[in-house]
């Protein structure tokens, strides 16, 4: 069985109760984009404060420096702790910072991972962080390794859009979980998969459903609609 050797971008954590939680780890490209979005936001704030502090003279300069310091070091910390691990950039890209066991990230971990940006930055523009991200199995930069955090994709499940022409049918036999998921998936994705291919897939399941041909596909989709709650 080679199942464990299959490449996958998901990692899972097992709770003491034996329940597996699975999350998709976020890789370099999407994280770089999120960082850039955050950088633009920070740049806007800098520009705004720069203009405002121009009117205040020396005091304005001091204020600018203090806000700059806070923004540079605690902008990510603030959002990670108070906004469920999502800075504006991460939110835009559908990312979230969590601990290695998928619990929400706290003050300690967030401060460590963001203070170590200095290490990731070396020698310039996050090259070390990038290397570490590519080399570590769960796409962790040095700050993540030290703080024990992960950046994961947030599941965005939209409500499945069903073709109204599908007539729901009650399944005639007991279905396992994998079977139910497969049938639902086929029903929901019936718009993106070509008709002949759908026929082919339905034909594969003919020994289970007991119906072949076009009726088989119709039956499968009906079962999918029924499983999704249309009666």
């Amino acid at each position: 069985m080679q199942a464990s050797r299959l490449l996958d971008n998901h990692c899972s954590v097992e709770t003491p109760e034996g329940i597996d939680f699975t999350q998709a780890m976020a890789g370099p490209v999407v994280r770089i984009l999120a960082f850039l979005i955050d950088m633009v936001w920070r740049g806007l704030v800098y520009a705004l404060i720069g203009i405002l502090s121009g009117f205040l003279g020396g005091f304005g300069m001091g204020l600018y420096l203090i806000i700059g310091f806070l923004l540079e070091w605690f902008y990510p910390v603030f959002f990670e702790v108070f906004r469920q691990g999502q800075t504006p950039g991460k939110k835009a890209m559908g990312l979230r910072v969590v601990n290695e066991d998928f619990t929400p990230v706290g003050w300690g971990a967030s401060v460590i991972r963001n203070l170590l940006r200095a290490a990731d930055f070396f020698p310039l523009m996050y090259v070390s962080g990038l290397l570490s991200m590519v080399l570590s199995r769960r796409f962790q930069r040095l700050g993540d390794l030290a703080a024990g955090t992960l950046v994961v994709h947030v599941d965005r499940q939209s409500a499945p859009q069903l073709d109204v022409s599908i007539k729901p049918r009650m399944p005639q036999q007991a279905l396992t979980r994998a079977e139910r998921q497969g049938i639902i998936s086929l029903t929901v994705r019936s718009r993106t998969i070509s008709e002949p291919r759908q026929q082919e897939l339905a034909e594969l399941l003919a020994p289970v459903t007991g119906v072949t041909g076009e009726a088989g596909l119709e039956r499968l989709k009906g079962m999918g609609a029924w499983l999704l709650g249309r009666k």
Binding site: R5, L6, L7, D8, N9, H10, A24, M25, A26, G27, P28, V29, V30, I32, L33, M93, G94, P123, L124, M125, V127, L130, S132, V134, L135, S136, R137, R138, F139, Q140, L145, A146, H153, T176, A178, E179, Q181, G182, S185, L186, R189, T192, I193, S194, R197, Q198, L201, L204, L205, P207, V208
Partner: protein
């Protein structure tokens, strides 16, 4: 192409997740993909470097321009590795050559600047589509995935530049001041050896990024095909049917045996309470005593009892964290350090350090509060009047000079004493009043054992009273009265009283 051999978990992913999967693919097969890119590139690079020894910039430009062709061999390899085929077996030389030649003109000219190159080149290289068919295919595939493909190209192009810049910066940071060069020296020397070195560095950086670029683009392409052709459902349904056939085939033979097994188990379960230990043991021994003995014997041996004699202190064995998130050796060594710091010996130290830190913080807070309290107390009203009065002597030469020992209306008291003919009492009042003012208001430094003359000397040294002879005169008059019993005349006493009240009233 056999889906059962697919090396990735078939699943429809978002485009961003597909890019992440591409990084994982590039990492698993990095060496062959890297070599497949680098070897042809090095060949051409060497030829070009020899040819354009005087114009090194041409070399990088040409290499950069030829990138789409260099990426074709890694892509071909990747498409085979994905289905667990580790060789290029079955390809003739002509086919291999055709991999490079097919559609190369377009790839090098009008499609060279297509930002979705990594994603769409599979259509040309693997599907061998041309012209209108290719366009149509690209449009189908790019739906929803074009944005991610564009960003992939943009970002990896910048990463490549970053690597080219990072190496000289790193070298300079490590070398330090040894070696004095102006900023930008790396790029300033256009024709020399340095430029060729820089070209080689650029080539290496390109080759390092290329596998990730190719694999990420290919992962996007594969993701789109999984979505359109439902590879995941195909695999799932085949698995379901296979399981179904297995369970269908079994019942005829299996059902009866299953019933038998169930019956046996049930029988055994009903029999179980009567035999607490083991069926085999119970069968052999008959008497209850023997059974008890056997039971005790059994319970005093492993796995019921594990005895171990420990004669010295040792650390508890902590569970090793099963952390396998690092691929390469140097990062693994980093992890070892991390693990050491997590468990075992240093855990206690960390706990201790934490407690000490909190205690220190608390103490600091208490000290700060105390200092603040004192500051607030001092700034309220006249803080040191009482304190000073307490410090300074209240009795001098046997005479009380505290404010409370003197009458509130001094004039009246002195006049009354003079009226009664008690000059001694009147003058003593004036003298005590003068001493009180000097010691408690002018803060003249006197001690309780000082004599009158010493007090006068101390008063003369006081900066505020310099030049004033009043106290000396008063002392003289008082000494004559006190010790020689020479009473001064009444106007003299009155004059001294007025002067004392005028001259020593200044400081309150």
């Amino acid at each position: 192409m056999n889906l059962a051999d697919l090396q990735i978990r078939a699943q429809v992913r978002t485009p961003w997740q597909a890019l992440d999967l591409g990084v994982l693919m590039a990492r698993r097969w990095f060496r062959p993909l890297w070599l497949a890119w680098l070897l042809p590139a090095v060949l051409i690079f060497t030829v070009l470097s020899l040819g354009f020894a005087d114009d090194p910039w041409v070399v990088t430009l040409v290499i950069w321009w030829l990138k789409p062709l260099f990426e074709r061999l890694p892509l071909l390899l990747l498409s085979r590795y994905l289905f667990a085929e580790r060789t290029l077996r079955g390809l003739t030389w002509w086919q291999l050559l055709r991999t490079w030649l097919f559609g190369s003109i377009g790839a090098l000219l009008w499609r060279r600047f297509d930002p979705r190159r990594a994603f769409l080149q599979a259509v040309t290289v693997l599907e061998k589509q041309k012209g209108r068919a290719r366009l149509k295919r690209c449009r189908t595939l790019a739906y929803g995935h074009g944005r991610a493909a564009t960003w992939l190209t943009l970002i990896l192009a910048h990463v490549e530049m970053l690597l080219v810049l990072a190496v000289p910066v790193l070298v300079l940071a490590l070398v330090g001041d040894f070696f004095e060069r102006g900023p930008g020296w790396w790029f300033s020397d256009e024709s020399g050896l340095l430029a060729h070195l820089s070209n080689a560095l650029t080539l290496i950086c390109m080759s390092l990024v290329a596998p990730f670029y190719v694999a990420s683009g290919f992962a996007l392409y594969i993701n789109r095909r999984i979505e359109l052709e439902a590879w995941d459902l195909d695999l799932l349904f085949r698995q379901i049917v296979q399981d179904h056939q297995v369970t269908q085939a079994k019942p005829s033979a299996g059902a009866s045996s299953l019933v038998t097994v169930m019956l046996v188990v049930m029988l055994w379960l009903t029999y179980l309470p009567a035999s607490p230990v083991q069926a085999a043991v119970v069968a052999e021994v008959a008497s209850p005593d023997a059974t008890k003995k056997a039971a005790v014997e059994l319970l005093s041996s492993p796995p019921y009892v594990i005895e171990e004699e420990v004669t010295q202190w040792r650390w508890k064995e902590t569970e090793k964290t099963d952390d396998d998130s690092v691929d390469s050796a140097w990062l693994e060594s980093l992890f070892d350090i991390q693990e050491v710091s997590r468990g075992g010996v240093s855990d206690g130290f960390y706990r201790l350090a934490e407690i000490l830190m909190w205690l220190g913080g608390l103490m600091l807070l208490v000290l700060l509060a105390r200092v603040l309290w004192r500051q607030l107390g001092q700034s309220e009203g006249q803080p040191d009047r009482d304190a000073l009065e307490a410090d300074a002597p209240r009795v001098l030469m046997g005479m009380a000079i505290g404010a409370d020992s003197l009458p509130s209306d001094l004039n009246a008291a002195v006049m009354e004493a003079l009226d009664q003919g008690d000059t001694r009492l009147a003058l003593s009042l004036v003298y005590r009043q003068a001493l009180h003012r000097l010691v408690h208001h002018y803060r003249v430094e006197v001690e309780s054992w000082h004599t009158e003359l010493e007090c006068a000397a101390a008063a003369r040294c006081h900066p505020d009273l310099a030049g004033s002879t009043l106290f000396d005169e008063l002392t003289g008059v008082w000494l004559r009265l006190a010790y020689a019993h020479e009473s001064p005349i009444r106007p003299r006493v009155e004059q001294l009283l007025r002067e004392v009240q005028r001259e020593l009233a200044g400081c309150t």
